[in-house]
């Protein structure tokens, strides 16, 4: 094996003068297919379990603060969108002399714009500067002005405390690593 000019760019190719299809498939599998498919499968399984864990933990809280945990699935989805056309184009290239131009364009644009696709996902994951905390703060201040501490019922106290605990747990646990809380 060596790096040599392929249809679109330099990549791994066989040094044999007339490599068989099996040999070409083996190269593609080792250098692109297996790492990609294994990565996708691990990511998907991981995210499904993570989403189950998080939803089971604090569905109401997550809904309340507007965190959409299903956005996490975008990561493996981006990997799939970026690399699968390239895999299809490469596999098809073993059987036909010239793959369709549309597939070549898709292959080239997607694999070469991986940084843009990732930036798009991470950009969308970033929490927008929300007006919500400010509003809450303003309401709290207004409330504080209008009524004394003793006016707040025990039930309300308990509710607030529970919310705070949930928030602390989530911050200490899952969401420290969730992209919504990162950037």
């Amino acid at each position: 094996m060596s790096y040599q000019r392929q249809a679109l760019f330099c990549w791994v190719g066989s040094t044999l003068s007339s490599p068989t299809v099996v040999h070409k498939i083996a190269i593609l599998a080792v250098f692109e297919g297996i790492p990609l498919i294994a990565g996708l499968l691990i990511s998907l399984v991981g995210y499904v379990i993570a989403i189950r864990n998080i939803t089971g933990f604090a569905q109401m809280y997550l809904a309340g603060v507007g965190i959409q945990i299903y956005k996490l699935l975008w990561y493996p989805l981006v990997l799939a969108i970026i690399f699968l056309p390239s895999l299809v184009n490469n596999v098809l290239g073993f059987f036909v002399k010239d793959t369709p131009i549309q597939l070549k364009v898709l292959h080239l644009i997607l694999t070469h714009s991986i940084g843009f696709a990732n930036a798009l996902v991470y950009g969308l994951q970033r929490p927008k500067p929300s007006a919500k905390p400010k509003q809450e703060c303003e309401i709290s201040m207004a409330e504080a002005r209008s009524r004394s501490h003793s006016d707040i019922s025990d039930e309300e106290h308990t509710g607030r405390r529970n919310n705070s605990i949930t928030e602390d747990l989530i911050r200490a646990g899952t969401l420290t690593s969730a992209p919504n809380d990162l950037l």
Partner: protein, 133 residues
């Protein structure tokens, strides 16, 4: 749609230029954003920074493929960098997924920093191995 070989080459060249430019700008923006985040940086943020850096380096082989003759040393450098960075992106994305899964399980024995160091070492080793092979 049937196009001549010459116009096909032109189309692919311009696709490469546009995609590479977008990729460069996107990964640069991500890198700056991650670096600007005040310390201490979370492990997931470090993994995203690693993805951004590998995406940034991935634009180098794209530029080489525009100007290189497709033979010799430049082709080897292009192929090596392409394989290395593509694999690193896949491995780091997978590591981010594993981190989310592990962290959501609230396992007290799970230490994010240890996981991060292991993930980076294993990813680099595997990607280098594939690129050198």
């Amino acid at each position: 749609m049937s196009v001549s070989a010459e116009s096909e080459e032109k189309i692919l060249y311009w696709c490469n230029v546009v995609a590479t430019l977008l990729s460069f700008l996107g990964s640069l923006w991500m890198t700056i954003l991650c670096l600007k985040t005040p310390s201490p940086k979370s492990v997931a943020l470090k993994l995203i920074l690693a993805i951004a850096l590998s995406d940034l380096v991935y634009t180098i082989p794209n530029v080489i493929s525009m100007y290189g003759d497709g033979n010799g040393l430049m082709c080897n450098i292009e192929g090596f960098l392409r394989e290395l960075t593509a694999m690193l992106t896949i491995f780091f994305s997978t590591a981010t997924a594993i981190l989310c899964y592990k962290d959501s399980a609230f396992n007290a024995k799970f230490v994010q920093e240890v996981f991060y160091k292991k993930a980076v070492k294993i990813s680099l080793f595997l990607a280098l191995l594939l690129a050198v092979m």
